[in-house]
Symmetry: C2
Subunit: 114 residues, 2 copies
DNA sequence: GATATAATTCGATAATAATAGAAATATAGA
DNA sequence: TCTATATTTCTATTATTATCGAATTATATC
């Protein structure tokens, strides 16, 4: 059963990585992180990155499906924001892989923000 | 010019994320991290994960192209190992996004390995 | 209700990626 | 050189993903 949960977890993290694994979507995530915590409206993201609205909508949907972004409506505007908690979780997962098994990476080496 | 370099960097990190963004390849990376620093031979990885050799070879090639794994030959065996430095770089990039712009995530929250 | 704007959904196409059996290549040893 | 094993490359098929114009839905205002 632990194996099954593990499998589901791996699938989930793989999907999250995949969601950020295209240039347009990684740009979107960066932009939303930069605009955190307020977020940005769709039109502004589209203007900034030069992405047609229908294309952008699909990208945002994918990021939303993987819980990497959140949405709230304010009138006719939809405000998208980065889900930093999910991102933290993903990084934590990768980080855990890197150091808990056999000290492949020294904790200090990955702590930046000096 | 800074914009161009930035674009290339984003494309590179997106490719790295994409490379880990499938269940089989994320499993491979995890397995190689677990076996770090010695790594594992291809056949052992295939046996452990139940992946046919030709399929596995393609996955390893992709991970190698993104510099997430390294190879060395020893007789008829090829030893693949995780490139922890590249992984560290990727995590650092994401991590930087998360905290340098507006303290979206507290550094302490992502430092695990307690 | 009519109009205007924001954003999504529809529909269709093109591009990329995943999979795996069969054939080829690389290396070691007899 | 011949044989055995490890791994890749070839070839083909199937599945998934990215893209975007046009049509639709949602909300607000007059």
């Amino acid at each position: 059963m632990a194996k099954k949960e593990d499998a589901a977890l791996i699938a989930r993290y793989a999907d999250m990585l995949s969601a950020m694994g295209t240039e347009p979507r990684l740009r979107i995530v960066r932009l939303l992180l930069a605009a955190h915590p307020g977020g940005m409206i769709v039109g502004e993201v589209g203007d900034e990155l030069g992405i047609p609205s229908s294309t952008l909508s699909h990208h945002l949907e994918k990021l939303k499906n993987e819980d990497l972004v959140r949405v709230r409506r304010e009138g006719t505007y939809l405000w998208y924001s980065a889900n930093t908690e999910a991102l933290r979780e993903l990084l934590g997962f990768l980080y855990a892989e890197c150091c808990t098994r056999n000290k492949a990476i020294e904790p200090q080496k990955i702590v930046c923000c000096k």
